[in-house]
Symmetry: C2
């Protein structure tokens, strides 16, 4: 059985939980508290030397870190990943966009605020820079969604799952989604997909 190293508040881990729910795949869940350093123990570092969740332990013992590698792996051969080569490349385009232009901004701001990380001179300077870059990412998404319902190939895919994870909780730390009607319509559509679960759902 698959084992997911998880943390309930993590949008990255939620991507894996959401896809596993869509696919109706049973798995063992091991919750590690990132605030208590449980992802930096020698035991876990032996599994993932980068010391981060999520990580998915496969049946052969391989430990696969990186949320978007995990969902690509789970989605191969299913309706959640296009079967054509250009479609797959476009899904990857949005997965890399998410990890480079979206998550480091919106998810990091959310983490700093929700986890009450002490303000340092670095965070004080980085906060407005990350807010600005996060808004730029939302605007790229809005532009794209103005002309289509889903990110790639006119159907729900792991590109939508990856981008939904931290977009739908961005309001928790005062990213204003009112200016983005296409984005809001897309989030409603995502929540209507079969076997959808919420990020805070046990």
């Amino acid at each position: 059985m698959l084992t997911l190293y998880d943390y309930p508040d993590s949008g990255n881990a939620y991507k894996a939980r959401l896809l596993l729910s869509h696919l109706d795949i049973p798995y063992k869940r091991v919750v590690l508290d990132i605030d208590k350093g449980e992802t930096r123990t020698p035991h876990f570092l032996a599994k993932n030397p980068n010391g981060r969740i999520p990580a998915l332990e496969l049946d052969d013992g391989t430990v696969l870190p990186e949320s978007n590698a995990i969902i690509f792996h789970l989605a191969e051969g299913t309706r959640y990943l296009p079967s054509d080569r250009v479609g797959r490349a476009q899904v990857l385009q949005w997965l890399f966009f998410e990890q480079y232009s979206h998550e480091p901004n919106i998810a990091t701001v959310r983490y700093w605020i929700k986890h009450k990380i002490p303000m340092t001179p670095y965070i004080e300077q980085a906060m407005p820079a990350k807010r600005k870059a996060g808004i730029a990412a939302l605007e790229v998404m809005e532009t794209h969604l103005k002309k289509r319902e889903f990110f790639v190939g006119e159907r729900y895919s792991i590109a939508d799952i990856a981008l939904y994870a931290y977009t739908h909780v961005a309001h928790e730390v005062d990213f204003d989604l009112k200016p983005y009607p296409a984005l809001r319509a897309w989030m409603e559509l995502v929540a209507l997909q079969e076997n959808h679960i919420g990020i805070y759902q046990e």
Copy 2:
């Protein structure tokens, strides 16, 4: 014929040039000067709304941004991407590691210094944070390479190409690679691959 929107100094664009050389695929090269705002013109934003190079224009007119999506697309069905499902997932694991934990640190420091970006309070605070995170990424790579020659499946793949791009120029901005013998041996092996080209090679 493929068209690569390119910038000579970019390690991200170099990944695509290097793989196109390995694969011996001819392409048209369009150089855009990022310092002169040539990736933010309405003409280019219509091709890539995220306003970044590299972007690869395919024969059907699709414009594919994101360096690691480009090299995954080009590598599908070739020796540069494993044919087994777990191997592909592990390649993606390293591609996401590169874009999340390596490039935003080492490549950003390199860009700020080489392009003489004016020091702001944000850059002043971010520089040491990014140096520290860049060193942590190099240490994860060194740990992994201590036990193997290449990143995935005991053969050269796009995981090596992606990580080589900014690692082999990290010394230009004073990242010290002396403490990482496995990393240095790996860089020598990468440079020995068939049809290897240098980042500054015209």
